[in-house]
């Protein structure tokens, strides 16, 4: 039991980050803080994906001038690369919508822009 308690700590760090991001998304009303919460959520998922593929004593999966040792898993790193690019693109789109909402309603409170008006 204590072996997994100390050895699995990187997974629990990613889960704690996800907890902080979910707290921001549920309990905060400022629109910029909600965008920050979405970014922290995708960062925690990326961290969890990369630590899933670690081999003890491993080296980077590149064959150019490689030292001795087993290689870490490459497929998980490819998924993380895709996820980072998609997160940048959607964060740019969300921020442009926040700018439009601020120009239209004049405040950054999410309770004031909740009802759809004509």
């Amino acid at each position: 039991m204590t072996e997994t308690l100390i050895g699995n700590f990187p997974f629990v760090a990613a889960v704690v980050l996800m907890g902080i991001a979910l707290y921001i998304l549920i309990f905060r009303r400022n629109l910029i803080k909600i965008v920050m919460g979405i970014t922290i959520l995708s960062s925690s998922v990326n961290l969890f994906l990369v630590t899933l593929g670690y081999r003890a004593g491993g080296i980077a999966p590149i064959y150019t001038d490689a030292p001795e040792g087993p290689m870490v898993l490459p497929v998980v790193q490819a998924l993380t690369l895709t996820n980072i690019v998609i997160a940048v693109a959607t964060s740019a789109l969300i921020l442009s919508l926040v700018i439009r909402i601020y120009r239209h309603t004049g405040s950054l409170d999410s309770k004031k822009s909740r009802r759809m008006k004509g």
């Binding site: 590149i62 690019v85 442009s96 700018i99």
Partner: protein
């Protein structure tokens, strides 16, 4: 911005371009590739926007040119994917042929650029797409906040 910042940004943009193109084209030998090199060049463009102001940059990077570069990157990617349709979609048909066709020896070796098959061409296509896309997005955000819009 002051004259020192503008001069240094001018001189540094050449180094950023060379380093970004190096990371894009050596994507099959060293860590890197299309997405990473495209982000490097886009951050160089952001440095120019901060130093010179978005009003001066919009005369040089127009919307039509950036759209053209991004669409040509996407089209090149899809054409290369369709070119190996004789066997399967996304088939690596350049391994063993004359351009980019070498096969590296098994195990640790000093890398050779003329290997990799169809991967360096795809790296170039994706690098063009990411550069143009991220530069256009940041330029549109900077121009909207100061009250103008992108030139045709």
């Amino acid at each position: 911005m002051s004259k020192i910042v503008r001069t240094v940004a001018n001189q540094l943009m050449a180094f950023v371009l060379v380093f970004g193109l190096y990371v894009i084209m050596h994507g099959h030998v060293t860590p890197g590739g299309g997405f990473q090199g495209g982000a490097i060049i886009a951050s160089g463009v952001v440095m120019l926007i901060v130093a010179f102001g978005s009003g001066q940059i919009k005369k040089f990077l127009r919307e039509r040119r950036l759209s053209l570069v991004e669409s040509s990157g996407a089209l090149l990617f899809i054409l290369i994917a369709f070119a190996g349709i004789g066997t399967v979609f996304f088939y690596n048909f350049l391994v063993g042929s004359r351009i980019f066709g070498g096969i590296p020896p098994t195990g640790s070796n000093p890398g050779d650029v003329w290997t990799g098959g169809v991967i360096p061409v795809m790296n170039l296509a994706v690098g063009l797409k990411v550069t143009a896309g991220l530069s256009a997005a940041v330029l549109a955000l900077a121009l909207f906040s100061s009250g103008e819009e992108m030139e045709e």
